[in-house]
């Protein structure tokens, strides 16, 4: 666990592909400002045995293809056609999706169609100023603030106003402390959050829970499976969780607890993404000033 107090925070916000950057150099942005927008490759790839549908040998299939690699196709559009018996019998192969012909294998008679690219955008995540533009990719942002880095987290980026629900770092965050008014808030607990508290926080629509510890068994219950690897960020548990110290009941680092207390009702930008081995990426809570 680490606390970096009153520092200049820089964040590089980059699309996973090339696209359009929507902000200008020097522009003041909010945490939910869209920085850049683009389209990424669609993971949906449909395989068609065109040779079988047309009843031809794969090596003779080229002559029946109406579309080539790289051609765009619409759903139900004919991509290959075979007429026989002087045009009286027709067999066709249609695209099941909107997309592009990506692969045509003359040896296997297979055609692979990839779905149309998906729109993607990257938001600022922190409020601040655009200090550098990354052409076609995004921007570098800067703000003043403090960062609390935790031990492990679940879920991705979110933000909300801080709501301290316990008075001391060694107190337990229970479900009785949470209600509907915490919708969209970043709830700060003490030494440990109970499973019921985490479930209640998710059910009232809290953006995040930041707490010193959580029982590994409760985390498994919450996820529905054993975590296994220390690589997180994609979990769908209804909120983002940042565990600052570790598993079990661990009083939150007093410096971090005090920081959250001082900034009660202030904005917190939270990211549960953790990669313990691959890149040593720890979950973080940013408090911009």
């Amino acid at each position: 666990m680490a606390v970096e107090n009153k520092i200049i925070i820089r964040k590089t916000r980059r699309l996973p592909t090339f696209g359009e950057v929507l902000v200008k150099q020097g522009e003041i942005i909010r945490e939910d400002t869209i920085i850049a927008r683009g389209r990424v490759r669609n993971p949906e790839l449909v395989e068609l045995r065109v040779d079988q549908r047309l009843g031809v040998d794969p090596y003779n299939l080229s002559g029946y293809m109406l579309k080539a690699v790289g051609d765009a196709v619409k759903k139900e559009e004919i991509i290959a056609l075979r007429r026989s018996f002087f045009g009286k019998s027709t067999k066709v192969c249609r695209s099941p999706i909107d997309g592009t012909i990506e692969i045509f294998s003359k040896s296997s008679g297979k055609v692979l169609i990839r779905g149309d690219p998906l729109p993607v955008e990257v938001k600022a995540h922190i409020p601040g100023k655009v200090t550098e533009l990354l052409p076609r990719e995004g921007a570098v942002l800067e703000c003043k603030g403090s960062i609390v880095r935790g031990a492990i987290g679940l879920g991705g980026e979110t933000h909300g106003f801080l709501e301290n629900l316990v008075d001391a770092p060694d107190e337990v965050l229970t479900n009785g402390l949470i209600d509907k008014t915490h919708s969209g808030k970043v709830i700060v607990g003490g030494a440990v959050a109970t499973l019921e508290a985490l479930r209640k926080a998710a059910s009232v629509g809290a953006a995040a829970v930041v707490v010193g510890g959580v029982d590994e068994k409760d985390l498994t219950e919450l996820l529905g499976y054993e975590l296994g690897f220390g690589v997180t960020g994609q979990e769908r548990i209804g909120l983002t969780l940042v565990v600052t110290e570790g598993f079990g009941a661990n009083p939150m680092n007093p410096e971090a607890f005090q920081l959250f207390k001082e900034h009660r009702s202030g904005l917190a930008c939270v990211d549960g993404t953790t990669q313990i081995r691959a890149r040593m990426l720890r979950p973080e809570v940013i408090i911009p000033f």
């Binding site: 993971p43 790839l45 449909v46 395989e47 692969i103 294998s105 040896s107 296997s108 297979k110 692979l112 031990a151 492990i152 510890g213 029982d215 590994e216 068994k217 985390l219 498994t220 054993e226 975590l227 296994g228 690897f229 220390g230 565990v243 570790g246 598993f247 079990g248 313990i276 081995r277 691959a278």
Partner: protein
Amino acid sequence: MVANNGDAFLVVDVGDTETKAALVRRENGVYRLIGTGEAETTLDAPELDVTIGISRSVESLSGGRLLGKDGPEGVKLLCSSSNGGGLYMMVSGVTSMISGESAQRAALGAGAHLVGIFSKDDPRPEYRLIETMRETRPDMFLLAGGTDGGAFNQVLEMASIIKNADIKPRFGASYKLPVIYAGNVEAREEVAEKLTELYATRAVDNVRPVIERENLGPAKEAIYDSYMEHVLTHSPGYERLAGWVDSPILPTQAAIGKMLYTYAERRKANLLAVNVGGSTTDIYSVYRGVFNRSLNAELGLTYGAMNVLKTVGIERIERWLPEAIEERKIRNIIGNLMVQQLEKFSADERRIIGALAREAIRLGAEEHKKLASRLKGINIRRTIADTFSQSLEPTYLDMGDTPIIIGMGAAFNGSLGDSTTLLLDSLEPLYLTELYIDRAGLIPHAGMLLGEAPEAAFSILTGETLQRLGTCLTPYGKGEGEAIRIKLMRQDGNTIDKSINFGEIDVLPILDGETCKIEATSGKGLSLGKGKEKRLEATVTGGVLGLIIDARGRPLTIPDKKDTIKKWAEALPPSGTETR
């Protein structure tokens, strides 16, 4: 660079977090370890240059100035590396069980971490294979398939899939991914035609030239070369380091494998070695001259701890604990082993680490059995005689014919007694077995020395790093009452007679290196040899713990009673006796 005459070697292993240097020098005709030094590996900002960490690890060594601005001075520099998690490889073959398995053996044998295995008989649709290849960015690809003059079209189809995947290397898209082709020699040209535009391709001899024989050497050498030329050069400082070293930089696991293989060959004995680290469990074996390595990625004692729990379940961890610990506490400790890089451990943490290590090794050994096997795809005619023979057993792994077992890695950093029971519990050695640990962690360094100065390699291995815990005698079967009666005749003329009951572990006090004759007889239901022999006469060598008798029988039954587990855990002394 100052010239050297081969009398002094600076041997450096660059790990993920630690760089370890050893200075070996010939004095009076004998190679000696002058000293070792350690420093943090410098591959993270702001110190993005591996040579900084190397220089620091060398600074603490006595022996004068060894590294200057332009490289080594008066010493030969040898280097191995496992930074960034080591060498990430994908392999493919035409069939998963034949060429695919040979490709796996070649890659693992060369010290790689397998991140993808593909074949034409893969049940996944082609597009899934392509997706997986694209998403998992490896350092290198080994394409095998077909015997020489055999399968042709399938090899080209696999090459087409690799082409269509347009796989980018792990360290960036600015260079081509190395693809080594080690399949049907007749398809070389066509494979090169398909792949050369996108990949740095090279062809070597087939890993499976005929169905009955494997030929892994050329593929392994090509992996080493490509690792140096294409992979390491993209890590900061390695280009400079490449100009300093006197032989190619090896993957650390390859250096370990080379040393273990040569040691087993020199001892003319089968060998099994386990390396349990923070995130992986490696198993190496040499049976009847055949080397194999298997790797269980993400099973370890820190980063891999929660994955051991996930794989085996809580009950299999709990069963090894000498005292009951509440389940929530066990789970939290295991979670914290992963998320907090602890430097000191409580008693409970140590016990749980011991349990995790036992399960990681057991899983590793099970996995190893599949890979260390006779070649699949060969048509075997069974005869009545085969029913009574081991020759057609599906795996080489045979604990009744494994006279040498070596433990390596963080799991063996505890007391000598704990290291010994860890090997006994997890691998269940049978009959007579010598147990060792890699005390100084210098097996990779010894392996690097093999090519330049084999005597130096063996001097470091046997004189500096391998510590013989003891020879262990274990009967097969289940019994009750007296399990073993043993008479031990020491060289000083003293004789020890002892009876050990079933279910007990005991130790007889002989010195490390002392050879003694033993006469042992086994109790009812137990045997001391493959022919169900009840009597054994042998000459054994003592280790730091003496001669160990494990009378718990085999297969080992793990009792529910915590008292018994506690007795087992405390049966051996934590430290050893004097060395002869």
